[in-house]
């Protein structure tokens, strides 16, 4: 059964904080939920479906439902695909609504990595994943976690291989950060608002080669929430209607090491599934939210989604092609994870939120795409360099 046209995103909220020393993670989830419900014109008692992932504290959905006082929920989904979870949740919410399991789905994300020291590098070292508690640990732990894999060096391995196979350069990757920074200058909430140059990116400190400091996203506290509703409820609300017309998801991993291929992401499967369901092509897309944990993340996903040929991503992103009003494919007009916000090291939900703003015509006037009626939100979670989940949604403005 296709989900095309079976659900609408009617509420979206990005928490304005980027640093939350005086709040709990549960509180941030609840503030985001409240913000998205108010945006939609609904109340918590209207919510009958709840979606969250691994960032939800305590017993996940059970803890958060109780904390927020959501008493009418009859459908739960805690699908965990890292930072792409919340994009996957949009597709799952549309499926649940289409199947009659719920009518108002709430999706929340929140976290405080700046306070807890839960930096993206936290997988490094640290005992190698020794067995503890009820579980004897991740099956790969003894053979992987001991080697100091972090978010930075696992994506660095992808960039290194991409450069080797396709001749991609650091200068080309830098254009992705340059474009994000051009957009972030207009976002009052952006963590980094300074416009940077290609030279500044490639001359910034090397973190894990070939990725420099400015190839990396920001670490921010905060969160976001989305409200996905049935068509009937969407029609009863006063907000512009953003229709979910296609969704795709795909896991990808080394599968016994015989299929390691670090220059492709799961987007090679999740993208075509979403485009096919939506009945549109990459060339039709007016605005693209692309998960940008690192510059290489964007480049690989643009290729895998079909915005250019494999290996041509470097040429595609160069010379400002991702800058709104300048290039052919405006992307991440909020500044993205590279400059604006990457709450709890999981950027998926902010990708959907900015796509909704663009389709509603509510993006900042300096970056608003003219006649923006078709957008994509896409992300990966986990690590492209090891194993990851990929989620794609295609959204359409309904007049």
């Amino acid at each position: 059964m296709s989900i095309k046209g079976k659900a609408y995103i009617m509420g979206a909220f990005e928490h304005p904080t980027r640093d939350a020393p005086d709040k709990t993670t549960a509180q941030l989830h609840a503030e985001c939920a409240k913000g998205a419900l108010e945006d939609a014109g609904l109340t918590k008692d209207d919510v009958d479906g709840y979606f969250c992932a691994g960032d939800a504290p305590g017993f996940g959905a059970l803890s958060m439902l109780d904390y927020m006082g959501l008493k009418n929920v009859r459908h739960l989904d805690s699908t965990e695909t890292g930072g792409s979870s919340y994009i996957v949740h949009v597709g799952h919410a549309a499926q649940a609504i289409a199947a009659g399991k719920c009518n108002v789905a709430l999706i929340t994300l929140a976290g405080r990595p700046r306070q807890t020291g839960n930096r993206p590098a936290s997988r490094a070292g640290g005992g190698g994943g020794a067995p503890q508690g009820l579980s004897d640990g991740p099956p790969e732990a003894g053979f992987e976690n001991i080697y100091g894999g972090t978010t930075h060096n696992t994506y660095g391995m992808c960039a290194m291989r991409h450069m080797y196979e396709y001749g991609t350069t650091s200068e080309q990757l830098a254009w992705i950060k340059v474009a994000a920074s051009h957009h972030a200058q207009w976002n009052e909430h952006a963590y980094l608002k300074n416009v940077v140059t290609v030279e500044e990116v490639v001359n910034s400190r090397m973190i894990s080669d070939p990725l420099h400091l400015l190839d990396c996203c920001v670490v921010t506290d905060g969160g976001g929430a989305l409200i996905v509703t049935s068509p009937e409820i969407a029609r009863s609300l006063k907000r512009p209607k953003v229709k979910v017309i296609g969704a795709g998801e795909a896991p990808k991993g080394p599968l016994g090491g015989q299929h390691l291929d670090l220059t492709h992401s799961g987007a090679v499967w999740s993208g075509p599934r979403a485009f096919e369901e939506a009945g549109v092509k990459p060339a039709d897309i007016k605005y693209a939210s692309i998960y940008d944990s690192f510059t290489i993340t964007v480049l690989m996903q643009l290729e895998d989604l079909g915005f250019c040929e494999k290996g041509q991503g470097g040429k595609f992103v160069a010379d400002g092609n991702l800058i709104s009003g300048v290039g052919k494919l405006p992307f991440n007009t909020d500044g993205g994870g590279l400059c604006n916000n990457h709450p709890t090291n999981r950027g998926g939900i902010t990708k959907v939120i900015e796509a909704v703003r663009q389709l509603r015509g509510e993006a900042h006037p300096k970056v608003q795409v003219q006649n923006c009626d078709l957008a994509i939100a896409h992300g990966t979670g986990g690590s492209l360099g090891v194993r990851h989940g990929s989620g794609t949604v295609i959204l359409e403005r309904e007049a």
Partner: protein
């Protein structure tokens, strides 16, 4: 060779003890004897990594341990510079038997690595645990 400040850092990183499970214990017992084992499946004939009881390629439970020379080529790598114990190289080796193995590259300078370079396994001691496989240029 005497230790001088001019000597380039050879990236030998302290490695924590690996988690040993009932599935992986034969690997670590062999590692303690300096032998590098991989798993091969009798049903599909292919080797896989990391080792497991049921073949991830065909689903057969007829998998056996096989000693490997531990040689192959670098598929990719990245040298992590933000590290309190000095730079270290994370990467993958494509073994001659086929599967790709995540590892650290050691006894080599940060600019001494290249994709496609031939490397060979060696075992590095860990504190309170069995030695772990790392790779070094041949």
């Amino acid at each position: 060779m005497s230790e001088t400040q001019e000597k380039p850092a050879l990236m030998t990183r302290p490695i924590p003890a690996p988690a040993v499970t009932v599935e992986s214990k034969p690997f670590w017992d062999a590692a303690a004897e300096g032998r590098f084992l991989i798993k091969r499946c009798n049903a599909c004939g292919k080797a896989h990594w990391y080792p497991r009881t049921i073949c991830p390629l065909c689903g057969s439970d007829d998998t056996v341990w096989q000693e490997s020379p531990g040689e192959g080529v670098i598929y990719t790598y990245s040298v992590m510079h933000r590290s309190p114990t000095g730079p270290y190289a994370l990467g993958y080796v494509t073994l001659d038997e086929g599967p790709a193995v995540m590892t650290n590259f050691v006894d080599v300078a940060p600019d001494g690595l290249k994709i496609g370079m031939r490397v060979k396994v060696k075992f590095q001691p860990t504190e309170n645990g069995p030695p772990v496989p790392v790779f070094t240029p041949v």
